[in-house]
Symmetry: C2
Subunit: 336 residues, 2 copies
C-alpha cells in the first residue's frame, strides 16, 4: 500500500494539476521515548520541513505534544494546518492500525489501557485524518520512500523492496515487500529477534533460549562490552577495537557476525533487495556497515550458494539527512 | 499476481459471460524426477481433469512427455487444445520465469545448458502460451488457490497468505504473501533450509554448519533413522515410535521439533496466515501434523510471545484430493 499511495498521489497530481497541491501535504511523526521527530512532505513527496521536540509521557502529554509537533513542522514549511491531507504517527508498543489505538507503549507512559491516539490527535488538529503505525513499519516505509526517490532511473525502482533492520535495545525488522508494507496477519512480520539460532545460547526475556536478539542488539552488545567511559557501549567497543584491544576486536567481530546472520536470515526468507541498518547501534555509521559487510563476505566464503546472493551488496545504512521513520509516517499519512 | 489473475478471471467472466469460457481453461503440470502430474482448470478455477505420467528424462523426452500430458489432461476434461488460454509448468532446478528457461534440473536430465522449455513446449502445442516456474512456487500458489476456494465466506479470503513448507529430500518453502507469489529479487525467497540454527550442528552440503535442513528434511530424518524394512524412512520411524521404540520416539520428537522451528521461523519473518506442510515426508499425513502441532504447543509453553502467535493453529497438511502443485502451475498459466 505504501508505494501505491505514493504513486497514486503523484498520478493524481498530474491529472489535476494546480488544484491538488494544497490538500496533499502530509506530516509524519516518529514518537520515541525521549523525543518526537517530525517531517512535512510536500505533494511530490519531498521533505520540506522537520521538527524535533522532547516527548511528554502519559496520554494527555503525548497527544498535546504530538499536536504541537504537527503545528510546528507545518509552520516550518510555511504551510497551513488546513493544507494537510493527513498525519501519520510511528510509535512503539502494540499498535492497531485499523482502529488507530496503541497500548503497552511503556516508554511513553501508555500502559494496559488502549489509547485511541488517532482519534484524540485528529480532534486536537481540527479533524485532520490521523493514522497510527508501529515504529518499525514506518521506518521501513520511510527507508523505501527515500530509496525510491534517490534511485537512478526512478521508474524501475518505483516499488522498493527492503527490510529495515533495527539494531536498537532489541532486534526487529520492518518489511516493505515490492512496495507494500508487510505487517503480517498478526502484526508479527519481521520479528526476527526471537528466532532461536543457538540451542545452547543464553535465555531470552521472551522465554526461549539462544534468540538472535541475544547476539545482535544494543542490549547484547552492552552485556558483552559494558560502557565504562560514559559513551554509548557501541561507541566504546568500536573505539577500543580500533585502538587494537584484542578482546574488543573479538566482541566486535562476534557482534558483526551476529548482525550478518540477521541479514542472511532476512534474505533467505524474504529475498529483499536491500537490508537497511537502523536503530541506535547504526549510529556507528560506516564503521558498523564495514564490519557487517566484512562478516557477510567471510560467511559467503564457505558457501557458493550464499556467495550467489551477494548479501554484502544488499546492506546499507539508513539515511541520516532526513528523519526516516517520520518520513515513513508521513507517507502512510497520505493514505488516510 | 496469483490471486489477482484468479480474481481477474472471475470478474471478466461476469462482465462477458458466455463468450469467455472456451478461452479460459488452463493446464498445469508438476514435473518431478519420476512423474508428471497434470491438472485442467475450468474458467471458474475448478479442477476438471487430472493426469499422471512417468517422466522421460532429457530435453527431448521432457518436452514430448509434457506435451502428451497436456493433451491427455485436456482430453480427460472433454476440452479441445484450442480451448486453452495457457499452460503452466512447475519444475525443479533453476528456473527463469521471465524467459521460460530451466537449467540444473539434474533429476530431469537437464544439466548446465539452459533449456528454453516454455518456447519448445509452446511450439509443440501449436502456440499455446507456456509459463515455467519453480516447483515450490507452483506448490505455494496451488495451496493458496485450494484454500481460497475452500474458505467459508470466500470474499474475505480472496488473497490467501501462506508458506508452503516442503519437507522433501531437502527443506525449502514457497511463499504467497497477500495473494501474491513472492519470488524475491534473486528467486531465493523461502530458502529457509540454509539458515544456520546451531553453531555446533553438522556441516551442510551448502558449505555452512548447522543449517535447518540438517534437522528438518527427509534427508535428515533418513540419516537419523535409516530405512531398514524397505519402506520410506519416515514411515518406518513413525511406525517404530507408535510401537513404543524409545529411540524412535526421541528421533521423531526431534524431527517434529525441528519442523516446528521451521514453522516458527517462517511466521516470525513473514507472519503468514497458514503454513502448509507438503513434500514427501508430509505423506505421513495427520500423524506428522499432530507431532508438529504438539511440538509447537510445547515450544509456546515457555513463551507467552510465541503463544500469542498461535502457531499450531496455522499449520495444516497440503490438500491431497487434488495435485496441488499442478493446480498452482495451472493458476500461473492463466497469466500467460
Amino acid at each position: 500500500m505504501v508505494s501505491r499511495s505514493g504513486t497514486g498521489a503523484s498520478s493524481q497530481d498530474e491529472s489535476s494539476k494546480g488544484k491538488v497541491g494544497m490538500g496533499k501535504y502530509t506530516v509524519g511523526l516518529d514518537i520515541g521515548g525521549t523525543k518526537i521527530l517530525g517531517a512535512l512532505l510536500d505533494p511530490e513527496g519531498e521533505v520540506v520541513g522537520t521538527v524535533r521536540r522532547a516527548t511528554v509521557h502519559g496520554a494527555d502529554g503525548l497527544v498535546a505534544g504530538a499536536a504541537q509537533a504537527v503545528r510546528d513542522v507545518v509552520a516550518s514549511g510555511g504551510v497551513e494546518l488546513a493544507a494537510l491531507a493527513g498525519v501519520g504517527l510511528g510509535i512503539p508498543g502494540i499498535v492497531d492500525h485499523r482502529s488507530g489505538t496503541v497500548k503497552h507503549a511503556v516508554n511513553l507512559g501508555v500502559h494496559d489501557d488502549e489509547l485511541p491516539l488517532a482519534e484524540l490527535l485528529s480532534a486536537e488538529l481540527g479533524g485532520v485524518p490521523v493514522v497510527v503505525e508501529n515504529d518499525l513499519n514506518v521506518a521501513a516505509v520511510g527507508a523505501a520512500h527515500v530509496l525510491e526517490r534517490s534511485a537512478p532511473g526512478g521508474e524501475a525502482r518505483e516499488h522498493e523492496d527492503l527490510a529495515f533492520l533495527a539494531l536498537g535495545t532489541g532486534l526487529a525488522s520492518g518489511l516493505v515487500i515490492d512496495g507494500q508494507l508487510r505487517r503480517g496477519v498478526s502484526g508479527a512480520a519481521g520479528e526476527i529477534g526471537h528466532i532461536p539460532v543457538d540451542p545452547l545460547g543464553p535465555e531470552c526475556t521472551c522465554g526461549q533460549r539462544g534468540c538472535l536478539e541475544r547476539f545482535a542488539s544494543g542490549k547484547a552488545l552492552e552485556a558483552a562490552w559494558p560502557s565504562r567511559h560514559g559513551k554509548p557501549a557501541p561507541v566504546e567497543l568500536f573505539e577500543a577495537a580500533r585502538a587494537g584491544d584484542e578482546q574488543a576486536i573479538v566482541v566486535k567481530d562476534r557482534f558483526a557476525a551476529a548482525t550478518a546472520s540477521a541479514v542472511r536470515l532476512l534474505v533467505l526468507t524474504t529475498d529483499v533487495r536491500h537490508v537497511v541498518l537502523g536503530g541506535g547501534v547504526a549510529q556507528l555509521g560506516t564503521e558498523l556497515l564495514d564490519a557487517v559487510q566484512d562478516a557477510l563476505r567471510e560467511q559467503a566464503k564457505v558457501s557458493s550458494f550464499l556467495g550467489s546472493l551477494k548479501l554484502a551488496d544488499r546492506v546499507q545504512l539508513a539515511a541520516t539527512h532526513v528523519p526516516v521513520a517520520a518520513v515513513g509516517a508521513a507517507v502512510l499519512g497520505r493514505r488516510s
